[in-house]
Amino acid sequence: MSRNFLKALPELIEAGIITEATSESIKNFYDQKKDQSQSRVITAFAILGGLLVGMGIILILAHNWDELARSTKTMLAFLPLVVAQALGVFVIWRKSESAAWRESVSALLYFAVGSSMALVAQIYNIPGNLGTFLLTWMLLCLPVIYLLRSSIMSLLVIIGITVYVNEVSYWTYSGKEAYLYWLVLALIAPHYYLLAKKNPLSNFVVFHDWVIALSLTICLGSLSHEGEEIMYMAYLAMFGLFVIIGNMKLFSHKLIINNPWRIIGSLGIIIMLLMLSFEWFWEDLMSQDEPFTEYREFYLYLFLLALSAGFIIRKAAQASWKFNGFLEFVPFVMFPVFLIGQDSVGIPMVVVNLMVLSIGLVTVRNGFRLNHLGIMNYGFLIIASLVVCRFFDTDLSYVIRGVMFVLVGLGFFMANYFMLKQRKSNEK
């Protein structure tokens, strides 16, 4: 477009619409823009060229790796790290205002720290311990988050420490708790807080929300000791807390895809309730010899409930507060149900099934009210999931189960049909 516009300039001068001086200013403006975009293209190609040269050097070295002396291998192992650190000093001194420089050097430094330790382990045939390696790597990179003000480093450290928890608690035969995960997360929290405060609409904030929410979902289970059934309660409380956070003003105005707290929280609650709707869970809970108070998972559940209550009370105290739906209160409603579950199987099962059905029906109704197909169908999906779960664990005849499926399916089709019909008539 700018090229056509520039071609029209002599015509505009002739018609007396702009002066010669104005025409020169316009030409200079577009020339400058062209220079900037050209320099960005050149920078991009320079980075690509540098990457290709670097990869070529690595491949040549890798092919001849066995022929190199141990001392040469050791020097090469340190080279990426030293280069990345030198770039780090350069960025702090001369390019501290450039986010592109800070983030790209941070990413390079992250991988350089890991690769230097891994290469030394290879050179000396050290089998090592993956958990210790990951923890050391993340702890060495953690301070760089604040020194280079890097969000990429923060995200990479959260991902790395999540893998550490998986290795130490889930993938190793004698899994242990990974308490240092929580310390690392607490140390990263100030960076996230400052990022969200300074630039709440930034993509980095959204990435952090997703990565932190998923990391917590994966890692909470590492705190489980001997009360596996009670860990379900803690997870329910955590997902309830996620829904509360997602409904806060800071997040509720965002697009749903940018609000992982709400997505993961509500999905998590539904999935947990569906799992709790099965008989086997309540039978396992009732078969436990010790009362809840003997399990650390119970205190974790209480802690998360207390945190959720604190948030709800704080929100309710504000004049602008409005009711955001039942999901926030599910973990609280389930507290007496879990207590009853220590001595009974039938009552908690019925309560949970009714709860899931209610959530599904309310979601369908909300979808109708808001004229939102997605919400309405999500409600039907919840009800359909409940029906599928009951298909597998009840003694009802196949005829009755078939009728249930038909009813849900019919409801699904008719609701969508009527809503689309209503929309068409509204448009006319």
């Binding site: 790290l81 045939n125 020194l147």
Partner: protein, 192 residues
């Protein structure tokens, strides 16, 4: 300006820590290689599917268990322990004794992890995990090395062993030998 200097100083401290960790790994192992005693650990046949993971050869050693008299439940999986080593008639490393405490009467000992404890009527068999169970090789050479390693153990009588330097309980694997020749050299000859 002052702020930038402080940040650079803090960054250099962190950079020093990032260099210190791998440097310390190198330092401790170079000391063992330079001043340690050499032991030959005889390897045992392995299932080929398990041997190669990534770019290294997994090593399994013949001398990796000890039989104790009586039932002993004081050793558990994952526990740190020490093996006192000696050489057998063929010159290979042999476990003379297993202890929980660091030996003081000899320098020929290695820190290990308890892998398996099997209690029988009047004996306890304990297998140990050595701190060197893989030999790294270049990616394209590793499969050939794997084949050579397996063939020598499964199909021929060629002695296959690992050279390990030991000092102060630490062991550094420096080479894998087939018929007294380094496996890397044999692989190079295969590829020519």
């Amino acid at each position: 300006m002052k702020n930038k200097l402080l940040i650079v100083a803090a960054f250099l401290l962190v950079a020093a820590a990032q260099i210190y960790i791998p440097a310390e790994m190198i330092n401790s192992r170079e000391a063992v290689i330079a001043n340690g005693k050499m032991f030959k650990f005889n390897t045992q046949p392995v299932d080929p599917a398990d041997v190669l993971r990534g770019r290294y050869i997994s090593l399994y050693f013949r001398e990796n268990s000890v039989k104790l008299l009586g039932r002993d439940s004081s050793y558990v999986y994952g526990q740190d322990a020490f093996v006192i080593l000696e050489q057998d008639v063929d010159g290979y490393a042999k476990i003379r004794q297993l202890t929980k405490e660091k030996p003081t009467e000899t320098d020929d000992y290695l820190k290990v992890k308890i892998d398996n404890v099997h209690n029988e009527e009047d004996t306890t068999s304990i297998s140990v995990e050595y701190p060197f169970d893989r030999y790294y090789m270049e990616e394209c050479k590793a499969p050939k090395a794997e084949k050579l390693y397996n063939d020598s153990r499964l199909h021929s009588a060629k002695p296959t062993y690992a050279i390990v330097m030991i000092k102060d309980g630490e062991g550094v694997l420096t080479d894998v030998m087939i018929d007294d020749r380094p496996i890397r050299k044999l692989v190079e000859e295969m590829t020519k």
